[in-house]
Symmetry: C2
Subunit: 299 residues, 2 copies
């Protein structure tokens, strides 16, 4: 069993980005919009700040009160997004329950949407890089040739692991667990765009083990600890655990590491797997989007 | 074996739409943009015209020469889309090879995008109806409550068949054949949005029969005649054949009807299956989008 080491891969990506950022005419800055306070969120922001500073990218947090309305937040965001110094904007999730999340996410223009969560970025990903290069405002997406296509950070992280460990995934039985907006959907859109076959199981699937048992690769983002146990997978399976659930301030994945790791050929630990590489991919997108500005085409 | 009768279902939907259209304050008009000449395309346009006239909807074709440039076409489209009398706009595919297809499709604003092929419409579908109701320009999409969600016509047609024939699809093994923009992608986005489990096989799948053999429902949109034969499916399978390929002026589906129909419990014929219902769904979208205008929210 080989552990897919997210800390090591993240460091490697950040080292490359540091060089790239140093060579760019404009200083990059990631703006992070945070609503309310939450110790787990603080921890994530700390990780992003550390990554930013380590590669010479400015980092600015815009904090807002838990009670802010959707309309107020949207107005602030329009200014934050327009601010030239902010070359990328992240809206830290989760947002409070009363906020219209997608409406807020849509205020980030595609050229600064490092998380690729706005309707326009998701649409550009779904219709494919070749065509989205002609979208105008979304031109940044995919304008850099096949190798440097902008992907949602979690999909980019998974692809980076596959590349780093020379894991062939195109002719495999891939099962995506969950169809949520942060993992299942972006991963599915990435695979659809590549015409890579895959299956999606959700909480509507009567017995997901029917599918996981035959899977060569399981990409899980259900957010349910110990959802996937050793008896549900075959010998040699590759486990990409992108599930994150929080319990008493600790982050857990979807896989029961102890039992699953006895059968897996490769497995991402949680923490230290997908998480740090996903953060590195946010910065990779920041660099790629800034680079692609000179390639931009008409609206 | 029960034949899923597209002509009958299409007529039923059009009859309902006729009543709805008659009750609307504004006369609806579908604008169809056609580039070049092609007998099969002419036939499709004729079917749409017939459907429009049968339900009291105006129909206007905007023809352009085969040699038109992308920029010229885009300029004309901006006028056509802005024209108030056009309550819906269809860009008839295929377009000539020199035209940037997605860039042209993106000129249709979501409120008039009955085919749901623009980046913004695809994005709104992918992020889900609940959230897309807050997108502003895309507000029309999904602004009508769960029952009247706007779907890409082919996905709407498949759902209409399932509803009409009381086919339960949510706990089934669904295999989507192909990941193209006209069938595989919109069908996948629809199913992802519903969290309905499914699998996608493509021409990268070494042997698709490994998946089709276990499928309860096969939704095929590969555009390859006789791709799916009787030996590749199990007894009782439901075949939704949305593949269209043209040979000598005739339209073929993906299924080898003769062999597959001997095992299927339900099957859509080609022609006379998905095709006519997809056309009816274009007009359903035209009606739903016009209705939803009063529900529209901020940008």
């Amino acid at each position: 069993m080989i552990l897919l080491d997210g800390k090591k891969l993240s460091q490697k990506i950040l080292d490359e980005l540091k060089q790239e950022a140093a060579g760019m005419a404009k200083k990059l800055r990631l703006a992070v919009v945070v609503v309310g306070k939450n110790p787990v969120v603080e921890k994530f922001i700390g990780q992003k700040r550390k990554a930013a500073l380590s590669i010479g990218v400015d980092f600015r947090v815009y904090p807002f009160e838990e009670t802010i309305t959707t309309d107020e937040l949207r107005k602030h965001l329009q200014k934050i997004v327009r601010e030239k110094k902010n070359t990328g904007v992240v809206i830290q999730l989760p947002l409070p329950g009363h906020v219209s999340v997608q409406y807020i996410l849509n205020s980030v223009i595609p050229e600064k949407d490092v998380d690729m969560l706005s309707v326009r970025s998701v649409g550009a990903l779904a219709v494919g890089p070749k065509s989205s290069a002609m979208v105008g405002p979304s031109a940044a997406v995919g304008g850099l040739g096949r190798k440097n296509i902008i992907l949602p950070p979690v999909a980019g992280a998974i692809k980076a692991f596959f590349d780093e460990y020379s894991i062939e995934y195109k002719n495999k039985n891939i099962v995506v667990v969950g169809a949520g907006k942060l993992v299942g959907l972006p991963v599915s859109l990435w695979l659809l765009g590549e015409k890579t076959p895959f299956g999606v199981v959700t909480n509507q699937t009567p017995d997901i083990s029917e599918f996981t048992k035959n899977a060569d690769i399981i990409i899980s983002g259900a957010g349910r600890p110990k959802l996937i146990t050793g008896d549900m997978v075959k010998k040699g399976v590759i486990i990409v655990d992108a599930g994150t659930s929080e319990s008493e301030g600790r982050i857990s994945g979807d896989a029961d590491f102890e039992s699953v790791s006895q059968k897996a050929s490769y497995i991402t630990p949680v923490p230290g797997g997908i998480g740090p590489v996903t953060i590195a991919m946010v910065f990779k997108n920041l660099v790629l989007l800034s680079k692609s500005k000179s390639h931009r085409r008409r609206v």
